[in-house]
């Protein structure tokens, strides 16, 4: 495992080109794709996540690392698809109807991607039915609803109700967040969880889906 040190450092530093090159080198040396991923790329990204949690990394640094991770995965993908790799959980994120704020939602998407989730972005001002439709189409496991206004919070309830009335509520977990949201409100409208900030959203997503942290 010692020989993955450089690869991990390059992931952490966000050196995209070098990561791809090192991955190729390791494969050439006879390592399996799974080994490179599990002991090189993933642990590197885990350190990035930890550094972010501890306030040592900013989002741009995390994004650079995530891109370098992807560059590495890109190389591995053809090899991995042949083997038995589990698909990651899918999250559908959107800002609810009437609300056009999206930076909060985008941040959560960034954090979730950094945490290994696949994120489908439904955009802003998304009507309740559209959420259900996109969830079905994409087979989303988790729905993330964002609202920044007291006057659009009720759309969160409408969206959850739509999942209920269209018989798809059991298929998904739903988490909500945004400046005016509280745990009490989440309980009141029947959401499965409340993310008080973007960093916590990842923890919550893992908790709701029973994914190891």
């Amino acid at each position: 495992m010692q020989n993955y040190d450089e690869l991990r450092e390059c992931v952490i530093a966000g050196k995209k080109a070098q990561v791809a090159e090192l991955v190729r080198k390791h494969l050439d040396e006879g390592k399996t794709a799974k080994d490179v991923m599990d002991n090189g790329l993933i642990p590197g990204m885990a350190i990035v996540g930890k550094k972010f949690q501890e306030g040592e990394f900013f989002i741009p640094e995390m994004l650079m690392a995530a891109r370098s991770l992807n560059a590495g995965l890109e190389v591995l993908r053809p090899l991995l698809e042949a083997s038995d790799v589990k698909p990651v959980a899918k999250v559908l994120m959107g800002t609810v109807k009437g609300d056009i704020h999206d930076i909060g939602k985008n941040l959560v998407a960034v954090m979730l991607r950094g945490g290994g989730f696949e994120v489908i972005d439904a955009g802003v001002d998304v009507p309740p039915d559209k959420f259900v439709e996109l969830a079905r189409e994409n087979g989303a496991d988790l729905i993330g609803l964002s609202a920044l206004l007291t006057t659009t919070m009720p759309s969160m309830k409408d969206t959850i109700d739509a999942f209920q009335s269209q018989g798809y509520r059991e298929n998904v977990k739903i988490m909500i967040g945004g400046a005016p949201i509280t745990q009490e409100y989440a309980d009141e409208i029947g959401a499965d969880g409340f993310a008080r900030n973007a960093s916590y959203a990842v923890e919550l997503a893992k908790k709701l889906l029973g994914v190891a942290a």
Binding site: I59, P60, L63, I103, L107, G123, V124, T150, Y185
Partner: protein, 455 residues
Amino acid sequence: MTNFSKMAYQSADDLMFGRAKVPVTCGYGLEVGTGMVLPEVNFTLPTMKVEHEQLPAILRQYDDMVSSILQRLVTLGMPGAMIEFEHAPQMTEELEIGTAITAKIRTLMQSFYEKHGLRTALRVTVCDIREKSRPPQMRSGEATEKMFEAFRLSAANGAHLLSIESTGGKEVSDRALMEADVQGLLLALGILAPRDSRFLWQKIVAIANEHKIIPAGDTACAFANTAMILADQRYIPNVLAAVVRAMSAVRTLVGNEVGAVGPTKDCGYEGPVIKAITGCPVSLEGKSAACAHFSHMGNIAMATCDLWSNESVQNVKLLSGHAPEVFTEILTYDCRLMNEALQAGQERALQNLFVSSDAYKSVHALVISPQASFEIAEAILSHQSDFDRTRAAGLQACQIIRDASATGKLPLPDRESAWLDQIEEVLQENADEGKVLEDGSAQFGELFLPKEYGL
């Protein structure tokens, strides 16, 4: 169109709360910038839907909020105030809702003016709903038409002043902020945003002139406050947010160039820069807007304000009364203090305390001090094009931060210091507007429509 080429003030020392070179008189005899700081009170609905069926309930909420605010001002003997009605998106979209609320508020203001002589003016801030579609249609399409119609109807139904928190360039800025892509920020703030400001404010000014009301001003909230809040949550470097603050002043200034006369919008901390250049009165917010957002400039924001605002608070019940009334009282006492200082000739001493109590505790506070604002304003005026001005403002902010850090007054962590170097370097390298547009289009091309910016 005024092409501001000379500073309105001789030195930073001349920038003072309550006094503006070019005051504004509006509404029911309200004077802004003539020697007194007045509250600007803002308020919003508690958790509830904005839709036609709810209109009576919505109007009852606004009736309660505005009545209690105006009554509190009378009780405390505050001679006047700006009342801001800021649209939720649905109020701009469903035109009759926004219009009905405007008319209701105006009626209450009139009755308090007649009964108690309370001088007020109604600022209506329409919501920039153009950013709804992705990529946004900034000049064409239904949302744009509705937005301008909302300005017209507001003007016709009681607004004394028109404002907006405009969002041209935000689609690029949002992404560039998260990636700390300074070239992208130059594209957003130096090219797209000023182009949009010019387009947008020409129209707003025309509407205001037609109705003989005041085209007040804008705020760089969508850029600089977004950055500040991201930095506050440790998502991006503080120095990046502070530099963005300075850069964002140019896009706001463009509004004044085409006819906005102030007071600028409360959440625009670039206000002091605008005041230094144009002499227009500015609205600002700080500690007494903690209900809306936490900040690092609670006191220093008072240093140059002409209106002092609470930004926004929902109509929830606190122990004494509803929150809008509570914050009206808090603002009133803040204003009393500043006005007493102005009357007693002690305004310099008080301003110094406002500034020194915050300036070196945070880089966000540092860059909005009267001195820093003045220097950023000078940097802006030392160039002609919006792009050059935006870049110069950013470089000046870097210099201000660097100097404060060098003297040891401003503690700057190594991590932030490294980022400052990087930001300055990219700003230095990108002197060519054409190249920034070209590179930016490659990088952020899927996010914006050039033709919606006249490009």
